[in-house]
């Protein structure tokens, strides 16, 4: 009996431990051992990756079929002649990045029917070319052969100083281009110059010819692809940033792809209205960063990929394992030509043919691979590597001089509404009321304020600068500015040079020669129109006089999310988004030269060099099903250089979560206000605003401020230098002034280094 009871006790102990372990898997893991762990209680509950403090070194042998092309003190570049596949050795830790899985014997697998020949070719080929062949796309690889098994791709290799140059000729479809691969310091750079791309079919676009046109190019889509990594993840630039852990069994076998800097409106059609006449589904968060990352082992080895040139035409792709291949993939595709709908009937939208642009998109493709090792090999290090890249290239220039916790208010001054006979102005906040509102805000205890005034200019049918008599006229406006000066309030004027609400001669045209418009979903206007971005410098130049006259020193610029597109002019010349980008730079330079600072709403990375304040900072990714955790990628990159401001807090529903997120990311709060009752806005173009009056918002602003103040007053404006997930629902953010903020999203208290972090609260250390 005694013997028996021993077994029973053992059994009980085992069962108990299983029980406890399982408890930890659920929400009750209140007391986890502290470590630099990744355990964000995201959608998939616990995600834990141990951060190793010890550096590993790898011993990886590169197969002989790879030949060394270039080498320096830290890197060595090898390549395989037939496939142009790469092997990059990081000499610091011995890790080798391959552009495909070299552990497999593809020929054998093809023979044994384990893998199809097409798939094997796609995986190994360094460059993939997607073409339009009489309307159906085809994916071509460097290993394509004709029916007799003879290669149809002609590759000539030249050596460069630090790499190689491959002249690739897809002879079967008569398309050729050059691929340059070389080491630049510690980075690997891959380039396809635009001039080298030639579609040399002499009968191209001639009637009766079965045109094969270049659609997009994929470079090294399997570089860094991996079957699983116990302690690794892929960094996706969606919204504020997200990571996907590389589990053996993906929870969701889902892919994701989204255009960098938003979709190109030159090719897309206006969204259709839903049956309920409202948009029900929020758009996905935008990709504002032209980067992605693959971390194979946290704190040991990772890869940052930067689309250095051509990001305007790049699409980011994440592919889960077990969808088409057994690998997790992450890569950019570059679009050279897009089909668009050429409508033949004004009423029947189904009656259309596909049009193809004649000239491929003009841009030099350049992609940089930054190899990360040691402490750099995690999302913080990755972000910092990109930040360093931006600093080196003068995209991020000045560090914030006086880091400050500031609260921003956007005040809607004037709106537009359908009147009895014609559109009429709806003044919502007089200049003198602005002063009253700010004074009222000051009584709530808020001291450091930023203010943006937004008014619809009926003459321009857009939000532009205009001092209006009905809002109080010149004198009141000047008084308002004087008041701001006196009270040390940063004032900026809201202008949107990209979107207008009436079609005009400035409206850009899509490739199918229709006006570029998008659904607007306000009570007042069903659509907004997009101005030709190329005219931007001209428009801004015109307004300069007024800015000087009224002493406007800062503008809050909106609309840039729609500014990069391909379009056609009246003479049927196609203009590419690269031109738009140049025009934007020119326009913003004009403002800078005239000492007008620019704050930009949700700016893309290419705008950073002109951003004074980063408004509408993303606080979350799109929270896609397969994502393991949302990370502050954008914040890690720009904090310390650009002051960050949140989207309007008026409309938040899960208040505490949002406020905690501001604390976690070190982002300043922002509100939208109006002097008049919000009902005044109900039938205007701001009909999506449902709470804006200071009387309604007073209490909330005060409560929020009291909640945020203790943390943000010591961290806002400082660089976010470290961030990790301490345990389920608990994050730790460290800022450059040495302050650490521990945020607890859980419904229960949590201990951190002997510190009690209250439920749904935070502690500053």
């Amino acid at each position: 009996m005694k013997k028996f009871s021993k077994y029973i006790i053992c059994l009980i102990l085992i069962i108990l431990s299983i029980f406890v372990l399982n408890l930890h898997e659920d929400e009750n893991n209140k007391l986890l051992v502290q470590g630099n762990e990744l355990s964000y209680k995201s959608f998939s509950n616990d995600y834990v990756t141990k951060l190793n403090n010890e550096m590993k070194s790898y011993d990886m042998e590169i197969p002989e079929r790879f030949t060394l092309v270039s080498e320096n003190e830290t890197r060595a570049l090898y390549f395989e002649r037939d496939t142009l596949a790469l092997a990059i050795l990081n000499k610091t830790n011995g890790y080798v990045w391959y552009s495909y899985d070299i552990s497999r014997n593809y020929e054998e697998e093809i023979q044994n029917n384990i893998i199809s020949k097409e798939m094997a070719n796609q995986m190994r080929s360094g460059v993939l070319l997607r073409t339009y062949n009489v309307f159906t796309p085809g994916l071509r690889t460097l290993l394509d052969t004709d029916l007799l098994g003879k290669s149809v791709i002609d590759i000539k290799i030249d050596t460069l100083v630090n790499g190689f140059l491959a002249h690739i000729d897809f002879t079967n479809v008569k398309i050729k281009f050059d691929l340059q691969v070389y080491l630049e310091g510690n980075d690997l750079v891959v380039e396809i110059p635009y001039d080298s791309i030639v579609e040399y079919d002499p009968k191209l676009f001639e009637a009766g010819n079965k045109d094969v046109l270049i659609n997009e190019i994929l470079i090294y889509p399997f570089l860094g692809a991996i079957e699983k990594a116990d302690n690794g993840y892929i960094v996706i630039p969606d919204g504020s940033g997200a990571i996907v852990s590389l589990n053996e069994v993906p929870k969701y076998r889902l892919n994701y792809s989204a255009p960098v800097y938003g979709k190109d409106l030159g090719f897309t059609e206006t969204t259709e209205v839903t049956s309920l006449n409202v948009t029900m589904i929020k758009p996905l968060a935008r990709i504002t960063l032209p980067i992605y990352g693959i971390i194979h082992e946290v704190d040991n080895t990772g890869l940052l990929v930067i689309s250095e040139s051509g990001a305007n035409y790049a699409t980011y792709n994440y592919v889960s394992r077990d969808v088409t291949t057994p690998y997790y993939q992450s890569y950019f595709t570059y679009s050279y030509r897009t089909a668009y709908k050429q409508f033949q009937s004004r009423v029947d939208k189904n009656q259309h043919i596909l049009g193809f642009q004649r000239v491929p998109n003009i841009f030099d493709l350049k992609q940089r691979y930054v190899l990360l090792d040691g402490n750099e090999a995690n999302y913080v290090g990755l972000a910092k590597a990109y930040r360093d890249y931006l600093v080196k290239n003068n995209e991020l220039k000045d560090r914030i001089q006086e880091p400050q916790y500031r609260t921003k208010f956007d005040i809607i001054g004037n709106e537009i509404e359908q009147g009895i006979l014609w559109n009429k102005n709806v003044p919502t906040t007089q200049y003198e009321d602005v002063v009253k509102i700010i004074k009222e805000v000051q009584t709530l205890g808020l001291t450091k304020l930023d203010m943006t005034y937004k008014a619809f200019a009926k003459g321009k049918m857009s939000y532009r600068f205009d001092v209006m008599g009905r809002l109080g006229g010149n004198n009141d406006f000047k008084d308002m500015l004087d008041f701001f000066d006196k009270e040390d309030i940063d004032f900026s004027y809201y202008v949107d040079y990209i979107r207008t609400y009436k079609q005009s001669k400035h409206t850009a045209m899509r490739l199918n020669r229709k006006a570029m418009q998008e659904l607007n979903y306000s009570y007042m206007f069903a659509y907004y129109y997009i101005n030709n971005t190329i005219e931007l410098p001209e428009l801004i130049e015109k307004d300069l006089k007024k800015y000087h006259k009224y002493d406007i020193t800062e503008l809050a610029l909106d609309g840039f999310k729609d500014a990069l597109y391909t379009h056609t002019d009246k003479k049927r010349n196609v203009h590419f988004s690269v031109e738009n980008q140049t025009a934007i730079y020119e326009a913003l330079q004009i403002l800078q030269d005239n000492n007008i600072r620019t704050s930009i709403y949700n700016p893309d990375a290419y705008l950073y060099r002109y951003v004074n304040k980063y408004l509408d900072a993303p606080l979350s990714s799109s929270e896609l099903l397969f994502v393991t955790a949302t990370i502050p990628l954008v914040e890690l990159i720009v904090s310390g250089y650009l002051p960050l401001y949140a989207p309007y807090l008026n409309f938040t529903s899960s208040e505490t979560d949002t406020l905690l997120r501001l604390v976690e990311y070190g982002v300043n709060p922002c509100y939208v206000l109006s002097g008049e009752n919000t009902y005044k806005l109900k039938y205007t173009n701001s009909s999506n605003i449902y709470v804006s009056n200071i009387a309604s918002l007073k209490e909330r602003i005060k409560t929020y401020d009291e909640f945020l103040q203790p943390a943000l007053s010591s961290i806002s404006g400082y660089e976010l230098v470290n961030h990790y997930f301490y345990q389920s629902g608990v994050t730790v953010s460290t800022f450059s002034n040495g302050i650490t903020v521990i945020v607890n999203y859980n419904d229960y208290d949590v201990q951190y280094n002997g510190l009690n972090i209250p439920a749904r609260g935070y502690q500053v250390q």
Binding site: I8, I12, I15, L16, I18, F19, N22, K41, S42, F43, S44, N45, Y252, L254, Y256, S275, L276, V278, T279, M280, I281, K282, L284, R346, Q418, I420, L421, R572, L619, S620, S622, E623, L624, L625, F626, F651, T652, S653, S654, E655, D657, T658, L660, R661, N677, T678, Y679, K682, S687, N688, Y690, V691, S692, N693, S696, E699, R700, G729, Y745, N746
Partner: protein
């Protein structure tokens, strides 16, 4: 000891049972949320519900085909999975020992397909209901002591003992209700041949009222719900949707004789659209709710015992509504297969609309093929998604909880003061929330703070409220100012008296009259305008003078028309909002339409009268019409002024004024035609009709010309464009 081990085993086992994942710190939901204002426009609002958990496996088994969710009063969740499989080890019915397969030596297992999974409030597994008889369970309904399971293949309702199941996981079939024995459901046979089929009894969903009567929503049940008593005897049909007969057939049926109609009926029957309810629900008071997926204007109906629908004919809904649930605040949830979730208040006003279909983005909270909705006592919403094979839950936000609390305080408890705090809180998150303003207004009314109430009602465009609040304000004003009013009246009377006395002596009236006459002689327009009063006193004489003596001119008539136009505009602008709503009115457009009708009338009438021996010229018609409409100039200003001191209680005065004006105008118009053209009464009537018809024809003609012209212009423009660009 054994017991203890068993206990732990079951404990750990139970723990594994239901796996779900939680969405914790999402600061965002993937969908927008809308509410409706009192004019039934959708307006955006702060999130009402945020995605919470996703339940996808129970007992390590994924759901196979989710059909229905039901939550009983104790928050047990009944999940109907029509393809879900359960393996049960067979036991000897006598000895209770496990049976062994003689060939394999393994325990003999039986696999049941189709089951109802039961989870408790904490989403822990309780048990599964399966039965030899059940083939394709479609839905459940649970009362205090019974679990009803509907089987669509067996077309039967199975009733299990609830307590035995919840306490001991015993599956005891109490009763089985099949096709009712009533003749209407039976096929008719003659000489062994079937001559007609019985009414279809194919139950999909059911509800059971307190007396045990079963309301069956069945496939193809054109007569509405089938009501059975607790023993399954047919009682009656209930709550059918009105038939939709094509308009042409409806018009035709007016003219047909009985026999013709019978013949036509057979053809029409095929064209009639039967809106068969898709789902149903019952609330605590016994009201039955149906939802119909083929109707978009009033998909949800609330019936009392006698079958009367309480809900508005044009509530905000969507086609493809497929599921309905009644919440604990008498709020109603509707689910459409487009993924939209609707929440209505107890009167069918839309509170919230959110959700959506997931096409490619794969975001938590969006749905693929939603089929059923239910809610527990924590207000957590459960939605079954058939293609994603999961149950998505949605958690109410604080904002929504406040609204529910406010409704509870307001409707259930009648505690207006308490509800006021809630409403004020709600307005901090959405100042355009009309229900909150109305609730606040009601609270202020109770406090007799009429002005505050008026303001709140005014924001919400709540006309009854505005009227009541104004009534209060007027009452208060009168109370405090009655003396002043009386004093002013007395003074006016005295002044009039003095005037009368002094007028005799100084002849003021005559002097003024003289001045006016001088003016009339000098300026013709003034003379003609003032003639209006004479005209209105003696209209017949007036028409004669207009026709024969050229008493008025086109210029004056135009001025009169303009005056009328201005007055109509003023009417929209200044009449009390409770009589003339100010939302969504485009006065310019209305005036344009009126002007067009007027021109059409003048032209049509002139044309018609020319060919029917009418004597009047176009000019006569134009002028005389303007004078005939002149009562508007006299009465409308009075109505506008008066309306501003009236409430709904005195609405009769407002309507009386309007009616007088219209009748007067109609009278004048009639005699205008008669006298100007010198017709008899009967001919006048005929001419008026013909004029109207002519107006219609001209209107049609203009419309066609317009449409063709536009096409033509577009073609020309495109040709020019082509020529220029090529």
């Amino acid at each position: 000891m054994k017991k203890i081990i068993l206990f732990f085993l079951t404990l750990t086992f139970c723990y594994f049972m239901v796996s779900y994942s939680t969405k914790a710190e999402s600061t965002n939901s993937p969908y927008y949320t809308y509410t409706a204002d009192s004019n039934r426009n959708l307006i955006p609002t702060t999130d009402a519900y945020t995605p919470d958990k996703q339940i996808y496996t129970v007992n390590g088994q994924r759901f196979e085909r989710l059909e229905h969710l039901f939550i009983d009063k104790e928050d047990y969740l009944y999940i109907t999975d029509s393809k879900g499989k359960t393996e049960v080890i067979q036991k000897d019915p006598e000895t209770g020992e496990e049976l062994i397969n003689p060939i394999t030596g393994q325990p003999l297992k039986r696999i049941y397909t189709g089951k109802v999974i039961v989870l408790d409030k904490n989403l822990q597994f309780v048990g599964e209901i399966y039965h030899d008889e059940i083939v394709f369970p479609k839905s459940t309904f649970v009362t205090n002591d019974s679990i009803y399971v509907v089987d669509v293949t067996k077309t039967s309702i199975f009733i299990f003992d609830r307590l035995a199941f919840l306490e001991n996981q015993e599956i005891i079939l109490k009763q089985m209700i099949g096709k009712p024995t009533h003749p209407i459901f039976q096929d008719e046979y003659e000489d062994g041949k079937r001559v007609s089929t019985g009414y279809p009894f194919r139950p999909d969903h059911i509800v059971v009222d307190k007396r045990g009567n079963i309301y069956v929503q069945g496939l193809d049940s054109k007569n509405g719900l089938i009501m059975l008593d607790s023993d399954g005897y047919f009682m009656t049909f209930f709550g059918a949707n009105p038939l939709r007969v094509p308009i042409l057939d409806r018009i035709r049926s007016i003219f047909l004789t009985e026999t013709q109609e019978k013949k036509a009926q057979e053809i029409t029957d095929k064209k009639i659209i039967h809106d068969i309810p898709a789902n149903l629900a019952i609330d605590e008071k016994g009201y039955i709710y149906t939802v119909t997926s083929s109707i978009s204007t009033n998909p949800i109906k609330k019936f009392n015992v006698s079958g009367r629908n309480y809900f508005n004919e044009n509530m905000i809904g969507d086609l493809n509504m497929i599921s309905i649930w009644i919440g604990q605040y008498e709020n109603i949830y509707g689910l459409s297969s487009n993924g939209y979730i609707f929440e209505y208040d107890t009167s069918g006003n839309l509170l919230f609309l959110f959700g959506g279909k997931d096409y490619s983005s794969n975001r938590v909270g969006l749905l693929m093929t939603p089929v059923s909705i239910a809610q527990n006592s924590d207000d957590l919403l459960f939605v079954a998604d058939q293609s994603n094979k999961l149950i998505q839950t949605y958690k109410p936000t604080t904002f929504t909880n406040m609204i529910h609390q406010a409704f509870k305080a307001y409707y259930k408890e009648g505690n207006y003061e308490k509800s006021r705090d809630y409403w004020q809180y709600i307005l901090q998150y959405n100042s355009l929330f009309d229900y909150a303003h109305i609730g606040l207004g009601d609270a202020y009314m109770r406090e007799r703070n009429y002005e505050a109430a008026y303001r709140e009602y005014y924001y919400a465009n709540h006309y009854e409220g505005i009227s009541d609040a104004y009534w209060g304000m007027r009452q208060q004003w009168l109370k405090s100012n009655l003396n002043t009013v009386l004093f002013i009246v007395v003074i006016l009377i005295v002044l009039r008296l003095f005037y009368y006395l002094f007028d005799k002596r100084y002849g003021w009236t005559n002097r003024i009259k003289g001045l006016i006459n001088k003016l009339r002689l000098k300026v013709r327009v003034i003379d003609e305008l003032l003639y209006l009063f004479a005209f209105l006193r003696h209209p017949l004489n007036g028409f004669y003078e207009i026709k024969r003596e050229n008493r008025s001119s086109i210029k004056t008539a135009t001025i009169i028309y303009l005056l009328i136009g201005i007055l109509i505009a003023l009417n929209y602008r200044f009449t009390n909002v409770i009589f003339v709503p100010k939302v969504g009115v485009n006065i310019a457009y209305e005036l344009l339409v009126l002007a067009l009708i007027l021109i059409l009338w003048v032209v049509a009438n002139y044309l018609v009268c020319t060919v029917s021996d009418g004597e009047g010229s176009m000019k006569n018609v134009y002028i005389a019409t303007s004078y005939s409409l002149s009562p508007i100039i006299i009465i409308l200003p009075l109505i506008i002024l008066l309306s501003n001191v009236l409430t709904y209680q005195e609405i009769v005065f407002y309507h009386f004024g309007y009616l007088t004006m219209l009748v007067w105008c109609a009278f004048l118009l009639f005699f205008m035609i008669k006298d100007i053209h010198n017709y008899s009464v009967s001919k006048t009537i005929r001419v008026i009709f013909v004029s109207f018809f002519t107006m219609l024809i001209i209107g049609l003609f203009l419309y066609v010309i317009n449409a063709l012209g536009n096409q033509m212009l577009a073609v020309i423009r495109e040709i020019i464009g082509e020529v220029i660009y090529r």
